[in-house]
């Protein structure tokens, strides 16, 4: 057994020394043409670097979005109009207007007997419009909401008060404005009690929200909140809701609350079918929304990475081109190597190894370059106040190395084969 083992390791050693010799030979050949080797490599460096940057920046942006969504609270349930598949977004998210959710649904969901675990419920009707104060005007987001807004969404008042339950339904023209709106319209002036005009209606500013920034694509500072009925009747001219959000007392009750919400809404909408197939609404937990965001951003990320990977094919073609030139240039060398005993496999592996050394080296430089670039982006993003994670996954590194090796093998194969098939005498005579 020991002798067998020794034999085996000697064979391995010989094979390794042959292989390392081939690698050394190809590195010598590459060093002989430094500028050309580098330019050849550049395609791979850029391709791999771009893939690494896109994957890393994508992961950073994803973590940022997810962290922001999480700050909204994970014990939220959203109800959107329109039916949807389990995993996909509801049709309303695609911009199709569905009018099935109403203020009465909010009223029903507020009933403790219907959804015992609900802490508060808020309904939304959103739009955009111009607010005017004196000669100042500002385009902003208008949101008709119910009184549960602060309880459900979080955030706090910087000044003044939120509207009351009575104002919610009696068409009071009161507005709570975000900090950006305040800055744009009023500057440093006193705000509470001032009257602003929105679509020919005069509103009294009763409160200013504290600055909160953008959370999950939504700028909380650039909006005007008003009672839902006021928004529906006076501004939007509709009687449906775009969204209902429900805060649940604790995370473990979410599943139960979702089925309570579904039962309540079916009852409200006279839907007898309990399977959910006939529903005209979709109920989602925040956790599901997080999953959905992950799915969407992942898809985007991989799509962009695949686009960047296309440049690797271009790089590969460049390598094939240069290898063909190299084979022609070194025809006499190939002839000589064959004359001193190299067989076809020796020649082929020499050129293949050379191609792989180029792509692998390019890949490694690309990985390092891409990682450094991604790190700089993360540093800058953090400097600008975003909670941006620097993520270069092991998977993307392994993938980049595997892909660049594969590019070398695939695009080196034809030139290498061509070299190995040369007749020794023809090659020796080549001028």
């Amino acid at each position: 057994m020991n002798i067998e083992y020794c034999k085996l390791s000697i064979i391995k050693l010989i094979m390794f020394s042959k292989f390392s010799q081939s690698v050394a030979t190809s590195i010598t050949a590459l060093l002989a043409n430094k500028a050309r080797s580098f330019l050849t490599m550049l395609g791979i460096i850029i391709g791999v670097g771009a893939v690494i940057v896109i994957m890393a920046v994508g992961a950073g942006a994803q973590s940022l979005i997810l962290a922001q969504v999480e700050t909204l609270g994970t014990n939220l349930i959203g109800v959107m109009p329109g039916k949807s598949d389990e995993a996909g977004p509801p049709t309303s998210a695609m911009g199709i207007v569905i009018t099935t959710l109403t203020y009465e649904d909010v009223m029903a969901l507020r009933e403790k007997s219907n959804v015992p675990n609900a802490v508060d419920v808020v309904g939304y009707t959103n739009g955009t419009g111009t607010a005017n104060w004196g000669s100042n005007s500002y385009d902003t987001n208008l949101k008709g909401v119910t009184v549960g807004y602060i309880e459900v969404e979080g955030g706090e008042l910087d000044n003044g008060r939120f509207f009351s339950k009575e104002e919610e339904t009696n068409l009071s023209r009161v507005a709570v404005i975000g900090s950006t709106v305040k800055k744009e319209l009023f500057g440093e002036s006193e705000v509470i009690g001032q009257r602003i005009k929105i679509k020919k209606h005069t509103f009294e500013v009763i409160g200013v929200m504290a600055e909160r920034g953008t959370v999950a694509f939504q700028d909380y500072d650039d909006q005007i909140l008003m009672p839902i009925k006021t928004m529906q009747k006076l501004i939007a001219g509709v009687n449906y809701l775009g969204l209902i959000r429900i805060k649940i007392d604790s995370e473990e009750n979410i599943d139960r609350a979702i089925s309570d919400v579904e039962m309540t809404l079916r009852d409200q909408h006279d839907i007898a079918d309990l399977s959910g197939d006939s529903d005209d609404f979709s109920v989602r937990s925040a956790a599901e929304a997080l999953d959905m965001i992950t799915v969407i951003t992942d898809a985007l990320r991989y799509f962009l990475a695949a686009m960047a990977a296309l440049s690797l094919i271009v790089g590969g073609i460049g390598i094939m081109n240069i290898m063909l030139v190299s084979v022609t240039e070194r025809t006499r060398e190939i002839g000589l190597r064959k004359a001193v005993g190299a067989n076809n496999f020796n020649i082929m592996s020499q050129f293949l190894i050379e191609a792989v050394v180029v792509t692998l080296l390019g890949g490694i430089i690309g990985i390092i370059g891409g990682a450094v670039f991604s790190y700089l982006i993360a540093v800058i993003a953090n400097f600008m106040g975003y909670d941006w994670a620097f993520v270069v996954s092991l998977l993307s590194i392994v993938l980049a190395i595997a892909v660049s090796t594969a590019v070398g093998l695939i695009f080196g194969l034809y030139p290498a084969r061509k070299a190995s098939m040369l007749e020794p005498v023809e090659a020796l005579r080549y001028e």
Partner: protein, 253 residues
Amino acid sequence: MTTLATQNRSKGAGSTPLINVQNLTKSYTAGEVVTKVLQGISFNIEKGEFVSIMGPSGSGKSTLMHILGFLEKATGGHYEFEGKDITKLQDDELAKMRNEKIGFVFQAFNLLPRTTVLENVKLPLTYAVGKGDINETAKQVLESVGLGHRLDYYTNQISGGEKQRVAIARALVNNPTIIFADEPTGNLDSKSGVQIMEILQRLNNAGNTIILVTHETYTSEHAKRIIQIKDGKIIDDYPVLNRRVAHDGETLK
């Protein structure tokens, strides 16, 4: 060199000749045109001989050398090397034979550019199996051709004569059965040419079989036997009576 000599002698000049060719033909086809380069060549070469294959350019002497050196296959005829039928061998077997049995010296030296002298000489050993310390072997051979001081020079840093000595060292490093030299002095000044012929004669004296391909009568007379070729046929095959001995001071014309 003595080790080479004793090894070659120990193989002995038995009954089978080293090279035995009979009615060897070679023709090239380019479209409709068939060019007959060799038209029936037959001869034997024994171990330890020093043969000049001589003829004008286009006579087919280089083609003959390529076939004898396993670089090319004959179109017809019979070729036995050490009693082994060569015509039936595959590409990879021919490569192995070239590696183990043959050393080539070319007119244009054919050294690898941007590579050191030592690396060039090691080249055949890298394609061989189990050759021990190839660095040491290559160094010894380089010393035997008087280039022990040039090991780490690049091939573009040495003179033509030195280049050809590197090529000879490369041909010798695998301890071949036979050395083929194709116009080895063709690209050299006469003084360097003499040095090369001196080395070849020394190698032959030590027991190495050498086949020299040349078109110069003067150079060919350094061999012991001359095979004259013209238009793909042997027109004469005779021993050299007044053999020239290369030594310092003599010049090749």
